[in-house]
Symmetry: none
Subunit: 411 residues, 2 copies
């Protein structure tokens, strides 16, 4: 079985709202193991909507629409569906009763416009809307299934959970399920990771791997289709082992884990404390670390030493070292890291200094040049990076690289 | 002229990400006055992608695709476009040079896979990607226009602004234009602003007002359709005056301006310097301030005093004041603000202390309780806030409120 999603609403075409319904339903279909090849968005125009539904029914087993079931004159979905599949529009008394009841609960009379919502295509099964007045519809048309859902996510979501998922599960033959697991990587570029797992990305069939890149981060998603959860988990485990063998050192976490969360877990586990000294990242590193609940157990303090005075006064960087090497230098980064470690009396001090841009670059020190130093009681090291992008992107890559150095130190 | 958007990526069909590109491009088309009737999403499948592009070209004047231009094996857009419109794929040396340059800036060799990105359909005009390696494409095919853009929003957005909007503007025949201006508000809740401009939100016709709410922020967008820019500007000006009369004190900026940018401008204009002391916001306030290029002119330093020790040692808060009132209190906030102002030798010190949650609350001090203090040579004041939401949401509202206090102080 394969399905197709049709989102209806001129407001989507005007860009007033982001279409979150499509991704919500897509995720549900994936979890059910139902294939899904197309999503279309159309406005409240009868001809274009009708032709879109006709095309969808011609190429997919299941067509799911959202939107256009409300009480206003713009809401044309029921009418257009009826016309497209050649059925009459009839007044469904049970829907009328349900809509009237909805208004009665609010001590209101049913508005005249809402009467239209009880007009549905003949033979359609209607779905109760627990959070609004627009009923959902399931229409079986030969071997095809047409499902119409309301547009507002808070009405559509519960209706999918309560009615559509059970219905589709009962209709799907074999009963395959799809499971997935994401491995999250940092510290390598997309192309490098891509190169190492290229063959896996070409897998087709019941087990597949997808690659998704964000700034400074790559996600490898392993997806398995199988008869049951256990079989799917087994398939995923096999592939995960292969991936970790090739790019394991870049993997910081799985699924919804964040780099700052992974680092936080390591700090808590190793019972180490940390403090940060930031110049070009301007507080972002501390901000990320403190996004994790419980960070106060291991994060003690951060100093955003933006001016040279602050580097001298708050981090004990000798003024002559700044003068000799410049504020953006290995030497200053190392002094900053040692300074914050001593000041905050912690196990690990991390410091960053660099040029976030777009101003402040010199011939020898371009935008994106960043030094990150890590200081412990036993050692001190510093790495040089050359990032590119906007100011905020250089900041983000800097903070991520610092978190990754911290992670590697703790491993 | 009418346009159609085709979003390409199996990750969209799997619901892994919400499709924000479609609404972004839709908004740009609306601003250009270009009609737009369909959006389609397809996966990385050559047959289905090709048939989707063919359908789109048959019914629309302009087809804009996003996604599938990256270096990986999944990225098939250029190849499929070339095949669909019957052109050869050629190696464009200028693209190759640009991609190589991108990696050279990062002191990296061009990965083998990235070479594929220089293969583009013959006769295509390529668009420079300032934030990645995937070039955009503009292809004129008879009277039709095909535009291919990269998928990542941070690459796609600037390319649309810099290349696609000017190109489409030059191609569109006279007619009507649509202009808009956004007023950005903070410090009031959405419902309050909504109440005051309710009648304006109901305007229909050539001038309209939209309201969009984000956490701690409201955007009022005035849109005018007119024969030319001047007429549209006039209509917008009229409505802006009315809005400012009603809610002017909440307006911090217009269009793409950010609160931290507006505050930065004020600091620069008044020649004032600032330093921040943060507890619950954990560095976010410093991070926002330093997102603005040129912040080093007015921002001197920040201290993230997460532990009580740090509040005492780095900000000179007397330990007995913490003991007596607790770290989350007016008294401690005020001492922190005075402490950072003295330490950093700046005109204004701002300090925040609060409970970001989800842990750390007590009966008397619930999650979301935040004190923000502002200290100058002449005075010191402190405000109490009660925010709600997730940990990161409390942090964001805290930082915004602090920026707004700073803004009001500077006005």
């Amino acid at each position: 079985m394969n399905a197709e999603i049709v989102c209806i609403g001129t407001e989507l075409l005007l860009g007033h709202i982001v279409n979150s319904n499509a991704s919500y339903i897509a995720r549900k279909l994936a979890e059910l193991g139902v294939d899904h090849y197309f999503q279309t968005t159309v406005g409240d125009n009868p001809q274009r909507l009708s032709s879109t539904i006709r095309t969808a029914l011609s190429r997919s087993d299941i067509v799911i629409t959202t939107g256009g079931l409300g009480p206003t004159i713009d809401d044309i979905t029921s009418k257009v569906i009826a016309k497209t599949i050649d059925r009459k529009l009839i007044l469904e008394r049970a829907v009328l009763k349900d809509v009237a009841e909805y208004f009665r609960r609010q001590n209101k009379k049913i508005p005249k416009d809402s009467l239209r919502q009880a007009l549905i295509p003949e033979g359609a099964k209607w779905l109760k809307n627990s959070f609004g007045t627009a009923p959902g519809l399931i229409i079986e048309q030969g071997a095809k299934i047409l499902i119409a859902l309301p547009g507002p996510p808070r009405e559509m979501g519960p209706m999918v959970e309560d009615h559509v998922v059970p219905y589709l599960r009962s209709r799907s033959k074999a009963g395959q399920i799809l499971k997935s697991k994401s491995l999250r990587l940092t510290g390598g570029v997309e192309a490098k990771v891509n190169q190492k797992v290229k063959d896996l990305l070409r897998l087709s069939g019941p087990v597949q791997v997808g690659i998704y890149a964000r700034l400074g981060e790559v996600e490898l998603k392993v997806m398995a289709k199988a008869k049951n959860e256990k079989a799917a988990d087994n398939e995923i485990k096999k592939l995960e082992r292969i991936i970790r063998k090739r790019v394991g050192s870049y993997v910081y976490g799985v699924d919804e884990e964040t780099l700052e969360g992974a680092v936080g877990n390591l700090l808590a586990k190793r019972k180490k404390t940390v403090a940060v000294a930031e110049s070009c990242s301007g507080g972002l590193l501390a901000n990320l670390i403190t996004n994790i609940s419980g960070a106060s157990d291991y994060f003690k303090s951060g100093i955003v030493a933006y001016s040279n005075d602050s580097k001298v006064n708050d981090l004990d960087v000798p003024a002559d070292i700044i003068k000799k090497n410049g504020a953006v230098s290995t030497q200053v980064a190392k002094k900053m890291a040692a300074g914050i470690r001593n000041r905050a009396n912690v196990d690990i001090g991390i410091a960053v200094t660099g040029i976030a841009g777009p101003k402040g670059a010199t011939k020898k020190k371009p935008v994106g040049l960043v030094f990150i130093a890590l200081s412990t009681k036993k050692k001190s090291n510093c790495r040089q990076f050359n990032f590119s992008g906007l100011r905020t992107e250089v900041k983000l890559q800097t903070a991520q690289a610092a978190l990754n150095m911290l992670r590697c130190e703790l491993l």
